[in-house]
């Protein structure tokens, strides 16, 4: 049983994890994730892909909002940019997916600098609303430049293959998304333990203090925008791979809200939190569906009219309850549980 921490080198201090147990569990989980397609049905696999894609997006948003403290309501805009870039490059220009996917991230990242620069002077909710404005403007521009974006017709992704695997099939898509998600998660974790990640945390805690300590605010804030949008752009591209049809209606304002809800419920600033939050919020409607079907007969006409609205309302209620009773999110819940077992039978 571990009882305390003693570190004698800087490297061990910034290591991803110092615990052999954690590594073992991580390995086991990796195995389980690899074996998942053999264990579950196609619908669960689709849900899994949805979750993985959302995780990539949530990790991206978390870098900006959780780690650097810049609140963004522009998620849907960056997702749209990623999806459209991917779709256009794949279908109109015949790029292979291994090139169009990073390109989607890069385009979203480059455009984020356009938002980032005017946003440098903005704080808190002013920034949030500016990013919201940005997502509306992106929406407008996508419909406006229909020569490039196919406007309101949308884009169908044809067959996309990588190394001979057809990404329209459930399993290859799952493994592909899983690989990307793992890369993104590792990327974000590693960013967090470099000079950059620490600078971001300092900016989040107090940006003026951070500047006084020699952190170049312009550079690091823009870098946060850049990296975050890169990941979100990739999430958008993955979204387009899953649905295989891109249309502006997919990227509504509520998507931005959901993304924020995910990282808050999961726990701000933590990669694991983003993952937990995504899993929780994606499965929540399914859980509510299950629960409701146990309580009420879906065919009873009095309820059937309301059942779908009730599901939406429950979503809101869960959000409120979490913020009220578990403000540090699911990751906080996990830490508390861990602490409890480590310290048991003592309280501290």
């Amino acid at each position: 049983m571990r009882t305390g921490h003693f570190k004698d080198s800087y490297a061990s201090l910034v290591a991803l994890s110092d615990s052999r147990t954690a590594w073992v569990w991580t390995g086991l989980m990796a195995l389980a994730l690899l074996a998942l397609p053999l264990l579950v049905g196609a619908y669960s696999l689709t849900l899994a892909v949805t979750i993985l894609v959302a995780i990539v997006g949530a990790i991206g948003l978390n870098l900006l909002t959780g780690t650097t403290g810049l609140i963004s309501l522009g998620q849907s805009g960056f997702l749209a940019i990623g999806a459209y870039t991917n779709g256009i490059l794949l279908t109109d220009h015949g790029w292979p997916i291994w090139a169009s996917l990073p390109a989607a991230g890069l385009v979203a990242a480059a455009i984020s600098l356009l938002v980032g620069i005017p946003s440098l002077r903005l704080k808190g909710l002013y920034l949030a609303i500016t990013t919201l404005a940005f997502s509306f403007i992106v929406n407008y521009l996508i419909l406006f430049f229909e020569g490039v974006t196919h406007g309101s017709n949308g884009i169908f992704l044809g067959d996309v293959t990588i190394f001979g695997f057809d990404l329209s099939a459930d399993r290859p898509l799952y493994y592909f998304t899983l690989a990307i998600t793992v890369l993104v998660a590792l990327g974000a974790l590693n960013l967090g333990r470099t000079r950059i990640g620490r600078a971001w945390l300092a900016i989040r805690d107090h940006d003026i203090a951070a500047r006084a300590m020699g952190i170049d605010l312009v550079r690091y804030k823009l870098l946060a925008f850049f990296m975050s949008s890169f990941f979100i752009g990739i999430a958008g591209a993955l979204m387009s791979l899953q649905i295989r049809f891109i249309n502006i209606d997919i990227f509504g304002f509520l998507l931005s809200i959901e993304a924020l809800a995910i990282i808050i419920l999961g726990g701000l600033g933590s990669v694991a939190g983003a993952i937990l939050g995504t899993v929780f919020l994606t499965l929540l409607p399914e859980a509510i569906r299950l629960a409701l079907s146990l309580i009420v007969d879906p065919n009873a006409s009095t309820y059937s009219k309301y059942i779908y609205e009730i599901r939406g309302i429950t979503y809101g209620v869960v959000m409120v309850l979490f913020l009220r009773f578990k403000p540090d999110g699911l990751i906080g819940l996990w830490r508390d549980a861990k602490k409890f077992f480590v310290n048991w039978p003592l309280a501290y």
């Binding site: 002013y126 404005a133 006084a212 209620v317 409120v320």
Partner: protein, 290 residues
């Protein structure tokens, strides 16, 4: 010139609704430091309640307000008690997200109770077109402009002259100090919510009477963001003015440039304004110290 005057007229009308909604945002932000993302839903819910009142009691405009505003205020108090009060002391961001959750709940609830059908919402005003110079108005549109003027004047007087108003400003400027001076901060928050709900109700009734009542009117809340940002989140009067400006800009952009630009004109303008003045035109600049 006539074209310009007509654009100005229709811009002011829609601007008045932005202004009213924006004032609702600003009151809550001023007192509690939180942007209430459920403001549009508050507008929706109160408008539907008012709608049921007109159906049941056939009330005309002023009696309708007399009944609706107290109900809205009670609703505001209730929501503050249930959703916001328990969050006292949490970071503003968390409270903002609570209002986001609240918005989802209110939206679902409203559709559940009243259904998705749109309704005509007559409030007992004549529908004969009135001409002010070359510019035609529906009477209800003039009422909307008048309401904005009265609400703005009322808010100005309230914050300037009444004990409560001054207490509210004190809380806005420094919550801890206000608390130490014996101001019941929690009551001030409650009050802010009830005032905000009342203004939302006023905006909702007028908006629905002008532009029909339907389950999408919550979106009016988001549309009013440019107004409140332009004025400065914590400036109640600025929001009213910001609303008028944004309404006019939207109509001018559409009238002279076209291309459906109206939908983003307001947002483009706030992005530009914020680059120059990061706290809006009339917002208080926060002085930060380490």
């Amino acid at each position: 010139m006539e074209y310009f005057a007509l654009l100005l007229g229709s811009g002011l009308v829609i601007g008045a609704t932005y202004g009213l909604v924006g004032m609702g945002f600003a009151i809550i932000y001023k007192a509690t430091g939180v942007v209430n993302f459920a403001q549009g839903e508050l507008l929706m819910l109160t408008a539907y309640i008012a709608f049921s009142l007109t159906q049941g009691l056939a009330l005309s405009f002023f009696p309708l307000l007399l009944v609706t505003l107290p109900i809205a205020m009670a609703l505001g108090v209730l929501l503050e008690r249930i959703f916001i009060r328990p969050m006292l002391g949490e970071p503003a961001f968390s409270i903002v997200m609570v209002t986001v959750g609240l918005s989802v709940i209110l939206r679902g609830l409203t559709i559940m109770i009243w259904g998705p059908d749109p309704h005509e919402f007559p409030i007992g005003l004549s529908t004969t077109v009135v001409h002010l110079g070359p510019v035609p108005f529906y009477p209800v549109q003039l009422y909307a402009l008048g309401s904005l003027a009265i609400a703005t004047g009322g808010a100005w007087a309230f914050f300037r002259f009444t004990r409560l108003g001054i207490a509210m400003r004190a809380v806005a400027s420094n919550e801890a100090a206000a608390l130490l001076m014996g101001i019941r901060v929690d009551r001030i928050h409650m009050l802010a919510w009830s005032f905000s709900a009342a203004i939302a109700a006023l905006a909702g009734v007028l908006f629905a009477a002008m532009f029909k009542l339907g389950p999408t009117i919550w979106f009016e809340g988001l549309r009013s963001f440019p107004a409140v940002i332009l004025g400065g989140l914590d400036s109640v009067l600025g929001a009213a003015l910001g609303g008028l400006v944004v309404g006019v800009i939207e109509n001018m952009a559409q009238g002279y440039l076209g291309q459906g630009l109206r939908e983003i004109a307001g947002f483009v303008v706030i992005v530009l304004i914020l680059m120059v003045r990061p706290y809006g035109l009339f917002g208080d600049r926060q002085i930060e110290r380490v």
